[in-house]
Symmetry: C2
Subunit: 260 residues, 2 copies
């Protein structure tokens, strides 16, 4: 056993996936179970409640990311500290701000980022196979990114044929960004292009989804909220009304080479 | 117990993540453990070998994706059949071709896609926090996508400031696509932009990575192979030479609002 003076901390930033414990990676689950401290906002800590037993818990509310990151870096000097992040730790997740704070403190302990299933992948799995080709993720939150930049990215991605996965489509403050984004994409894509909307992806009975088209998606504008992931397909994509529910398929291109 | 005649199959397409069993989701692992049949190519089946005990195994080689998909759809009519896919089941994964074949057979059993950690997320976690903002995935394989389309996507993503994650940078047949892609991106981005190269991400001792810049990345051209994931950052990104190894940070933009 190392003596107390030899004890050294470690800082983990862990992506917990879409929000049910079975969708964590085995490693993410084990890291959380063995932590001294687990930090996160209420929403994400509630999603992994069954894993929180003997660890010390540091809860903070949304919008307090910087304070939480500072606390995690301080604790990690002498403890195993885990910052949880919704979805993946990188994609719009906590890895950025935590490592920025670690850098500014020149933190000298090991930092490990543990990846998780991000909303694009969770929602794609619910919809079938919409995202099997080149894809772009775009957040519609203009809190940290100017709207002009978001608009340029929407246009570029739509024009170049990327499957587009929209994050943060709405908040209480931003109710029109989703509609504006759809109108931009419609300048480049036909109304028949399939669109999938997924709420609470892979969270058991809470999950709901809608398969529609670019021309009709704004009919569901009121249904879309901050927990909705949106997948906008390209002109190769199609909807299969399968005996077990609607699915979206974006062909990879095998049909140009094989028969089936 | 249901009688034999009531028995109905189910078709799973399961993303197994970057290639070590602890990086599977808990659900993906459980689905594989409880399958009647597990289908996949040698590379992916070898990565989950410790989970393959009593299941029937159907191995096939790379390039035989269509045949394997047909077999999975046939088996799923009366069995629990699992097609494994490297990384995520959607992102350049097997969900597309399997569901296409299911559609063409009008398969009437439940189909469940199980997401996994795709290479962009695995490599980002190794590098630190390069992918915390809008990102694009682009495959450099021109087997199923014309090179002109790939070129247009590279230009669009580079011009609009997306973090760019390159998949399939090389194969025995395509040795120059990686170099061509870098030259296209350099038209839009400064040579100082950080670039991360990760080989065998999160596969224990096999993992290797290089942190470099866009101006110097082609010095590592010979090191890049088909198992290498590449993350090309934007002009906001920076390299932190931390006491515990080089990391890439792309600031999310908190620094414009907070001090730390």
């Amino acid at each position: 056993m190392p003596s107390q003076s030899e004890k050294k901390g470690k800082l983990y930033i862990v992506g917990i996936g879409p929000g049910s414990v079975e969708q964590l990676t085995v490693h993410a689950r084990d890291v959380i179970l063995n932590a001294d401290y687990v930090l996160g906002n209420d929403t994400y800590l509630d999603q992994i409640e069954e894993l929180l037993t003997t660890q010390n818990i540091y809860r903070s509310s949304m919008g307090k990311e910087v304070d939480r990151a500072k606390e995690a870096v301080k604790l990690a000097e002498n403890n195993v500290a885990v910052m949880v992040s919704g979805g993946d730790a990188n994609v719009y997740g906590m890895a950025g701000i935590v490592i920025e704070v670690a850098e500014s403190n020149n933190l000298d302990v090991e930092i490990e980022v543990v990846p998780g299933v991000t909303a694009m992948l969770a929602s794609a799995s619910v919809l079938g196979a919409p995202v099997v080709v080149d894809a772009a993720t775009i957040s519609l939150s203009d809190l940290l990114t100017p709207w002009e930049v978001i608009e340029k990215r929407l246009s570029a991605a739509a024009d170049a044929g990327f499957i587009i996965s929209l994050y943060n489509p709405k908040s209480r403050q931003r109710t029109s960004n989703f509609e504006r984004a759809i109108e931009i994409i419609r300048k480049f894509r036909e109304d028949s292009v399939p669109v999938g909307l997924v709420k609470n992806a892979l969270r058991g009975d809470e999950q709901e989804y809608i398969v529609t088209t670019l021309g009709e998606v704004l009919e569901y504008n009121d249904w879309v909220d901050m927990r909705t992931a949106i997948v906008i397909c390209n002109s190769d994509s199609r909807i299969w009304n399968s005996p077990n529910g609607d699915k979206i398929i974006t062909p990879r291109g095998y049909h140009r080479k094989y028969e089936y």
